[in-house]
């Protein structure tokens, strides 16, 4: 038992949380292993923030099984919180406390800050700690929360869309620090709807939609759900390309072939292409974007009313 809880930092099964008649979480499953950066993907209103708030013991679950760092997040909230840091999606600061004061406040409440890291973070994020909360922009408020979280000595980071207000330069800084954090063997749960961010940072991904997990695995595992796009120049175009399993959208223009193929069915396609004498071959690796679009494609094509809430 000890090993199991040890390996699994977050363990959620069949979690249900309702707000009145709205089922915000509807039987959600999520497992996060120690030492991984886990991407938590989903469109707006899918239930990412709600899940994280349940994990923090801020919301009370209606049903299901939730373990955080081997404990019960509702009953052992304060104890467990000593071992994690949280950055909310919407950081609200006290108008009359400075950024520096807030960083110290949150850091000390977590049990202390690494002073050297605090100074380095302030410098890398280019943040002025003497400004009052009311005068920070959204991005700067987010930086305050990030500095406070990253300067703490914790084993788990819970980040709710942490970079939504950061510019690309600062996003790069953020990635560096997350890499550093992971290299020290610690765990991150990163909710996002920015795919590039998840692709760059995450070892494993869970995709949720309407309060349910619809897919979970390593990026490599999830790629079986995606298609690779291939463009080839051939001496002669072999017949029967379109009939191969998993091939879509074949487009032949003289000696040039363009097609999409399910990533697991690449082999037969490549074999057949070879028989035609390959002069040049380009392939686009699948992106998470595709994966995402596939999962929500119907919804996007539909009305998109679940979006933009």
């Amino acid at each position: 038992m000890a090993d199991v809880t040890d390996a699994q930092v977050i363990e959620i099964r069949d979690l249900v949380k309702t707000f009145g008649s709205l089922r915000a979480l509807d039987g959600l499953d999520l497992t996060v292993e120690r030492g991984e950066v886990h991407g938590f993907l989903g469109p707006n209103g899918a239930g990412k923030s709600t899940t994280i708030r349940v994990l923090l013991g801020l919301l009370r679950k209606d049903a299901g099984h939730v373990r955080l760092l081997g404990g019960d997040p509702w009953r052992q909230a304060a104890q467990l919180h000593a071992r994690l840091a949280y950055v909310p999606g919407d950081v609200n600061l006290w108008p009359n406390l400075t950024g520096g004061e807030v960083i110290d406040l949150l850091g000390r409440l977590r049990g202390g800050l690494d002073e050297r890291r605090r100074a380095r973070l302030l410098e890398r994020f280019d943040l002025d700690p003497t400004k009052k909360g009311r005068s920070y922009s959204k991005g700067n408020r987010q930086k305050v929360a990030l500095v406070a979280a990253l300067a703490s000595d914790v084993e788990l980071l819970l980040l709710d869309e942490p970079t939504s207000g950061l510019d690309p330069l600062m996003e790069a800084v953020f990635r560096d620090f997350i890499d550093e954090f992971r290299d020290a063997g610690r765990t991150v749960l990163l909710s996002s709807h920015i795919l590039a961010e998840v692709e760059h940072l995450c070892d494993r991904v869970s995709i949720i939609r309407a309060g349910r997990c619809v897919e979970s695995g390593t990026l490599a595992e999830l790629r079986h759900l995606t298609r690779t796009s291939i463009t080839a120049d051939l001496a002669t175009v072999p017949a029967g390309l379109a009939d191969l399993p998993g091939v879509h959208d074949v487009d032949i223009d003289n000696h040039r072939v363009h097609l999409e193929v399910d990533t697991t069915q690449l082999d037969p396609v490549l074999d057949l292409l070879q028989t035609g004498g390959v002069r040049s071959l380009e392939s686009q690796p699948p992106t998470l974007e595709d994966l995402f679009l596939r999962h929500y494609g119907d919804q996007l094509a539909g009305a998109g009313e679940d979006d933009g809430r």
Binding site: A78, N92, G100, V102
Partner: protein, 523 residues
């Protein structure tokens, strides 16, 4: 000016309740003084006697204004209401201007609207029109109320429109403040300071150096002399001052960047003080400005009340109603009068306690709690810090009111023992104050969205205090006010049993609220 009317329409919609409550409240302030004096003094002889007592009382003149025609209903209404009416329209203008200008700019919502094809000045102009209109409504409703009550029409209009002009003046002040500062709080602070200064200048002016009253907008209003030889020309100062303020604000607006002010935002400490990261330390840091402000305010109120000394017989008058109001069945006029003042101070402290007990809900609403509770800080510690600050704050606020009352009473009468005696007497009402804050705490725990209903308990206690005997309110209703169960010192002897019983009720409410908070979702 494109878009001004669009903005104005939106503002009027957002402010529709303000347009109801402020005019009604302010008009009621004026008209109810008429009721109250007509109820107190049944014969002209009584009236003359009371007026003579008031005219010689410097403390009352400093509080209210120059004593003119105090033996008439109109004179009394003017005297007792004008200064406070002016302060109220000042506050109303401050809130209206603040919420439509600096607050919008600070939140960034304004940027979105400004990107639309609207004139540069449109939001600001709409805000000025909105405030000007609201003040006009206040003036018209007040004048109408006074005339309907039966006072002379021309003077009623003078007293009513005068308060409109005061509001316009403070509209200009608030607009300038919104340009100078970068935060809504600071803009309110600056406007509030100007209102306070205007009141203080005329207080000193009316008592000693008359010239000071002539540099105060409230002084100009009172110089219109409604009901004692009405004259309109002092109103010109108010209108001119208002125009000057608004013009100056537009000039500053033209010269500053959007989103910034003129007064520099001062940098603060880069590191947190040692005690900040504890439940009580954080709560204190967030509430200390409020606690200090209320402490000073109640100290001053106590000083003002106590300065009436024991010379209150004439003020009270001989009519049965006024005796009923003050004596509540007893025979000791001075004691009864002070018991009522003490209860009034306790109610003010109760207002502090309720606002302080609602502060955690404000923090929750503003989304600042999640981040805190995601640390080792337990919910109970976080809330407990606020409970502690509310409790200790109420003790200090009420104690300072009692101290002020005792000190100035002692100075006026030469009775040195009054300092501690009166401080203690005022403090005997503390359990009632705690019931009010305990109720707010319970509502915050059980039904956070409805927590502001706690203010109704303050209103109820106030109504029972003022009108309970007068209107013969049913006993069960009166019993809802916690203060009804406490001994009315100094007219009654202090009793431990009700003191402890009411304290126990307060503690039960507070504890129940805290437990409920521990069990519910945090938003």
């Amino acid at each position: 000016m494109t878009g001004t009317l669009v903005f104005l329409r939106v503002f009027l919609r957002r402010d529709r309740w303000m347009y109801v409550w402020w005019p009604l409240g302010i008009a009621l302030l004026y008209v109810s003084q008429g009721w109250s004096v007509d109820g107190l003094y049944k014969t002209q002889a009584e009236f003359d006697q009371a007026a003579a007592g008031m005219e010689g009382n410097a403390a009352l003149i400093a509080m209210a204004g120059p004593a003119r025609a105090l033996n008439t209903t109109g004179g009394q209404v003017t005297w007792q209401s004008a200064a406070f009416g002016a302060i109220l329209v000042g506050l109303m203008s401050m809130f209206l201007i603040g919420r439509h200008t600096r607050a919008e700019e600070e939140s960034g919502r304004d940027e979105l609207l400004r990107a639309a094809p609207v004139g540069r000045y449109a939001p600001q102009t709409a805000a000025v029109l909105d405030a000007a209109l609201a003040n006009l409504v206040v003036g018209v409703v007040t004048a109408g109320g006074l005339a309907a009550y039966g006072l002379a029409t021309a003077d009623s209009i003078g007293l009513g429109l005068g308060v409109t002009f005061c509001g316009w003046f403070f509209t200009g002040v608030a607009l300038v403040a919104a340009q100078l500062t970068t935060s809504t709080r600071a803009a309110y602070g600056l406007t509030g300071a100007v209102i306070g200064l205007a009141y203080a200048l005329r207080a000193f002016g009316d008592v000693s150096l008359a010239a000071l009253s002539w540099i105060s907008p409230i002084g100009w209003y009172q110089a219109m002399h409604p009901f004692s030889g009405l004259r309109w020309w002092p109103a010109l100062f108010l209108v001119a001052g208002s125009a000057a303020g608004i013009t100056a604000a537009y000039a500053v607006f033209d010269r500053r960047d959007f989103g910034s002010g003129v007064l520099p935002a001062r940098p603060g400490p880069a590191r947190a003080a040692r005690g900040l990261a504890t439940g009580p330390g954080l709560a204190w840091r967030l509430q200390r400005a409020t606690v200090v402000a209320w402490t000073v305010g109640l100290l001053l109120s106590g000083l003002a009340f106590g300065s009436m000394g024991d010379d209150v017989e004439d003020l009270v008058g001989d009519s049965q109603t006024s005796r009923d109001l003050v004596l509540q069945g007893g025979a000791d006029i001075v004691g009864g009068f002070y018991a009522m003042l003490m209860l009034m101070l306790a109610l003010l402290a109760g207002s502090f306690a309720v606002s302080s007990a609602l502060r955690p809900r404000g923090e929750e609403d503003a989304g600042r709690v999640e981040g805190l509770l995601a640390t080792r800080l337990a919910r109970s510690t976080w809330l407990g810090g606020h409970v502690l600050v509310t409790g200790a704050g109420a003790l200090v606020v009420l104690g300072s009111a009692g101290l002020g009352l005792g000190v100035s009473y002692a100075l006026v009468t030469g009775d040195g023992g009054a300092v501690w005696r009166m401080t203690w007497q005022v403090l005997t009402f503390l359990p009632g104050v705690f019931v009010l804050s305990g109720l707010a705490r319970l509502l915050h725990g059980v039904a956070p969205r409805a927590a502001s209903l706690a203010w109704l308990s303050v209103l109820l206690a106030y109504l029972v205090l003022i009108f309970g005997e007068l209107l013969k309110l049913p006993q069960w209703l009166q019993d809802l006010s916690p203060f009804e169960h406490l001994a009315m010192v100094p007219v009654e002897d202090f009793r431990w049993v009700p003191f402890l019983a009411v304290s126990a009720v307060a503690a039960a409410l507070s504890v129940a609220g805290q437990i409920a908070f521990l069990r519910r979702d945090v938003h």
